[in-house]
Amino acid sequence: MSKPADLVQGTLDLLLLKLLALQPLHGWAISLRLRSLSGDVLQVSEGSLYPALHKLEQEGWIRAEWKQTENNRRAKFYSLTRLGRRQLESETESWQRLSSAISAVVQLSEA
């Protein structure tokens, strides 16, 4: 579909964990937030979003809770667990290692 929205493999988990670390959100809000925070660069299709969320929940990194939204609708809110916070830290660290390594390589000036 939309080329720029394709995420680097494995980074969706990291993004979701990060978003949920900031505040509990429901699925729809996550997709909105992701779009706006990344300036429309990152876009996640529903087909990836929900399976990813369920996987994170099965792993015990996030937990789900039915709550009222601001306009009084019932929605499933996801929040980070203690386990998830630890996972976020380790994934963030490895992402930073990876991305700095990649940019170091990419920024090599051609002789």
């Binding site: 429901h26 699925g27 729809w28 997709s31 299709s45 529903e46 087909g47 929900y50 399976p51 369920h54 996987k55 929940e57 099965q58 792993e59 015990g60 039915w66 609708r73 019932r74 929605a75 499933k76 667990t81 386990l83």
Partner: protein, 901 residues
């Protein structure tokens, strides 16, 4: 970290498994919420509600698919599939209730038939000793030419204990001894079973007493000093109502006060299979329990009464332990040449101890189990055949499933689930059948003095084995049909209801099944009949006396040591007892014996050297069974003296030493000459000779299935024994003599306990009727069940063929075939299979016969009569099975048959 991880995930998995509905609806709601938001977004952008909704739907790529994707992440797919398969299987099995019931019944019979033999085999061979780390416990045995599993004497045990280094603790115990127990002095003692054990017994076996304590080492040091006793759990319960304050109390055993110091735990049932001791007493107290007054237990190196067990030390190999003991036995032989000549020693595992060549029980268990497995195999073959037929009928259904995209593996799984459901139901039924069989076995009573424990239980081990067998049989029954039926040609499968090409290949499997069934059930029938004939044969000779004695002889056992009699008082007691009983009106005769023929205790062995007999180079002595009897014995028991004379009252301690041997013995050692007047030296070459004064008819002496053996009778006056059985021959019902005999005993000594009293019929029934009866019935049941199954299998096959060929038969009849031709056409096939099966079955029958002959019965050759009975029976039954459906086929009306389908 890992654990914490599970803490979160496990409940989630369970939630998605068990609360499917809830989880599903939550997922629904979540996605709907998303869809609504997305639609609202579209409306906000100015689309019509309808368009906005469509766009949202498109973007989400279909709700259902999303749900499926989310579901897959739950990792419970295989389980939910399994649950669905089971539901489906149950539904499809319900559609064919008759067939389902038949298959379940078949498997139930098969499994049930194995449960009883398995419980026997487990109890007799495999069940570990009830102690911690039972695998380490080994048995040390003394070996001689005549007895490869001999015990050790007390002196030998002490030497072994102090010198071997391969073990963590070497313990010794006697066989179960009958003791007179009275809770208080003054009470007439009752008979109980006691085990004399070394002081380290409980500690080395790591058995923690339930109440109180086990023995201390110093309680087994000074001979006769520490009269302490540990109670068996069953006895504690029945006699003291499980009262813990029993510790410290005194009880009387064989007339001596013993202090109770502890109670063995419920779990410790002793190291022997059949008996459960009521008491454990230190070896040092053996003086109060001695059975052989001629031997000194603590001194004589050849008074071998002790079973020696030891816990193998960690890191020591079995063969090292064996070498060490063999070397020690060499030292014994060198240092004590008088008592240990030609005597070795070795170490045996539990399995080796329980599978001794001379023991029959475990062999029966092995044979029963093998035969039962064959029955199970027949049952499974039957079930497999039926399932195969069923899957054939479902070809179209399977083809449809394959066509719409079911994986082959998935379908096989579905079909296997069906057979698993069948097998589990059958297994449960089988456990019920087995339970009934085992309870029937437990009712079997053995006329022993101390109650014998029938150790066959439907316990967890047997249960799990049965269930495992059911699952195995599910695989066996289900796999072939499943593989075959998922292998259909799709196009044909969808077109026709029955895709069977007329080729032979497809039926090959079913035919082989029927051949196998016929063969196996023929073998089982032959085995049952052989078992019957074997017993009949072993009971044919040497039982004339018993047929008469059973209606006339009363038995009563005495042991005057229980009333603290010494040897002289014992002699006088028996003398007066026999004399006074003889004076009673209804008494024809009375006598004494150590052990009546067909008795349960087993005879002592004596070693001897026959005079004028060329001893083989490699042996010093021969061994024979022996009994000690008085002068009235042969007449009372009804055993004729063929030549020479019987014992006389004058054969007393002062007279020439005499013996009577049986005819088997006489023929064995003096085949050409007269044995009367010959002499044998009891013990060894150097011992005093005894003269053979008479030859008695050879009788069957024990309840084993073996034929006749050598036997020596010695007069009790020359070889005093304390434990004797009084035999009383009456003119009428022997049990009416019970009261008069009791009066005599009371008049002699009111405190003298009469141990086991019974009519000789009781022993006779056990040895000749019920004992062999149980074996024959068991194998007979197996054979009958197998025959039934084979008949059902054959019937099923022929009926199935007929139903498949209805149209063909119709055509044949329409163009002129007579009913007779049709009958022949249909039956020919069945009978060919029966014929092939019979040939295989005969071969297998011969095999089983050789096995049984070599293991149990002393017989060789082929028992033709067996096959003359069994084969026609088999052929007749199977012909009938084929005839019924074939006849139905010949009655088919052509017009109906052609319209069939």
């Amino acid at each position: 970290m890992r654990l914490e991880h599970w803490w979160f995930t496990v409940p989630l998995r369970f939630r998605s498994l068990f609360r499917r509905g809830r989880v599903e609806s939550e997922l629904d709601e979540e996605l709907r919420f998303h869809l609504e938001r997305k639609t609202e977004e579209g409306i906000a952008e100015g689309l019509s509600p309808e368009d906005a909704r469509l766009r949202a739907l498109r973007a989400m790529g279909g709700l259902e698919q999303k749900k499926e994707e989310a579901r897959d992440t739950w990792h419970v797919r295989w389980l939910t599939d399994f649950v669905a398969d089971v539901r489906y299987a149950a539904r499809s099995l319900r559609r064919t209730p008759g067939l389902t019931a038949f298959v379940i019944l078949t498997i139930a019979l098969g499994i049930g038939m194995t449960a009883t033999p398995l419980s026997m085999l487990d109890a007799l061979v495999f069940r570990p000793y009830p102690v911690p780390r039972a695998g380490e416990v080994v048995t040390l045995v003394s070996t001689s030419r005549d007895n490869a599993f001999d015990s050790f004497s007390y002196r030998e045990y002490l030497d072994i204990r102090d010198q071997v280094k391969s073990y963590d603790g070497v313990v010794a115990h006697t066989q179960l001894k009958t003791v007179g127990f009275s809770p208080q002095a003054r009470e007439i003692p009752r008979i109980r079973g006691a085990l004399l054990v070394s002081g380290n017994f409980f500690r080395a076996l790591e058995v923690e007493p339930r109440v109180g304590r086990g023995f201390r080492d110093d309680e087994d040091r000074a001979l006769g000093r520490d009269a302490v006793v540990v109670l068996g759990p069953g006895f504690w319960k029945s006699e003291f109502a499980s009262d813990p304050s029993v510790v410290g109390r005194t009880i009387r055993l064989n007339g001596r006060d013993f202090t109770v110091i502890g109670v063995a735990p419920e779990s410790f049932t002793g190291l022997s299979i059949f008996d459960r001791p009521d008491f454990y007493v230190p070896l040092a107290m053996a003086g109060s329990f001695t059975t052989n007054p001629e031997k000194r237990f603590f001194e004589d190196r050849d008074d071998r009464e002790l079973m020696v067990r030891a816990r193998l030390r960690r890191g020591v190999s079995f063969s090292e332990a064996r070498h060490e003991l063999t070397a020690l036995a060499k030292n014994f032989e060198r240092d004590h040449s008088g008592t240990n000549r030609d005597r070795g020693a070795t170490v045996h595992t539990m399995l080796e101890m329980r599978t001794q060549a001379t023991d029959h029980n475990w062999k029966f268990a092995v044979i029963f189990t093998t035969l039962a497995f064959v029955v199970l195999l027949v049952a499974c073959t039957n079930a497999a055949g039926l399932l195969l037929a069923r899957s054939r009928a479902r070809t179209r259904e399977i083809a449809v499933r394959l066509a719409i995209g079911a994986g082959r593996f998935r379908l096989i799984r579905l079909l296997l689930t069906e057979s698993l459901v069948l097998a589990v139901l059958g297994g449960l039924g089988g456990i019920a059948v087995g339970y009934a069989g085992i309870s029937a076995m437990q009712k079997f009573s053995i006329p022993a003095e101390i109650p014998v424990r029938i150790p066959f239980h439907m316990d967890a081990r047997v249960l799990s084995a049965s269930l495992a067998l059911s699952v195995l049989s599910a695989l066996f029954c289900g796999l072939a049909p499943a593989l075959q039926s998922t292998h259909v040609d799709l196009v044909n499968g969808l077109k026709a209801a029955d895709v069977d090409e007329p080729g032979r290949r497809r039926l090959w499997g079913r035919n082989a099944l029927v051949v196998a069934q016929v063969a196996m059930s023929l073998m089982l029938l032959a085995a049952a009949f052989l078992m019957y004939r074997g017993f009949q044969h072993s009971l044919r000779e040497g039982l004339d006396f018993a047929a008469d004695a059973k209606d006339h002889v009363l038995l009563a056992r005495f042991d005057p040591r229980l009333a603290q009699y010494d040897a002289e008082r014992t002699r006088r007691f028996y003398e007066q007892l026999v004399q006074r009983v003889r004076e009673k009106l209804e008494v024809k005769n009375a006598a004494l014996t150590q052990n009546p023929p067909l008795g349960l205790e087993g005879y002592d062995l004596i070693t001897f050297v026959p005079e004028g007999f060329e001893m083989p180079r490699d042996r010093d002595v021969f061994a024979s069974q022996m009994d000690t009897v008085d002068e009235g014995y042969f007449e009372t028991m009804g055993v004729p003296i063929l030549r020479g004379r019987g014992f006389r009252a004058s054969d007393d301690a002062g007279a020439t030493r005499v013996a009577i041997v049986n005819e088997h013995f006489a023929k064995h050692y003096w085949p050409e000459r007269e044995a009367v007047g010959k002499r044998i030296r009891l013990g060894g070459r150097a011992d005093a000779p005894v003269e053979i004064v008479g030859i008695a008819q050879t009788i069957k002496s024990d309840d084993g299935p073996r034929g006749s053996e050598d036997f020596v009778y010695l007069p009790v006056a020359q070889h005093p024994v304390a434990r004797l059985v009084l035999l009383v021959r009456s003119t009428g019902d022997p049990l009416q003599l019970l009261e008069p005999v009791r009066q005599v005993v009371r008049s002699l000594d009111p405190n003298m306990p009469m141990l086991k009293t019974m009519s000789y019929a009781e022993l006779y029934r056990y040895a000749v009727v019920t004992g062999p009866g149980v074996a024959v019935k068991l194998v007979g049941t197996l054979g009958a069940v197998a025959l039934l199954l084979a008949v059902a299998g054959l019937y099923g096959l022929v009926a199935y063929n007929v139903s498949r060929r209805t149209r063909e038969i119709g055509i044949r009849m329409a163009i002129g075939a007579r009913p007779r031709d049709v009958l022949r056409l249909v039956m020919k096939k069945g009978l060919t299979l029966v014929a092939i099966g019979t040939i295989f079955g005969l071969a297998m029958g011969f095999g089983v016969e050789r096995l049984m002959n070599s293991m149990i019965f002393d017989a060789g050759g082929v028992d033709l009569l067996v096959y003359l009975v069994v084969v026609p029976l088999m052929v007749l039954a199977t012909m009938l099975a084929a005839y019924v459906p074939a006849r139905r086929a010949s009655k088919i009306a052509p017009t109906l048959a052609l319209r069939y389908e």
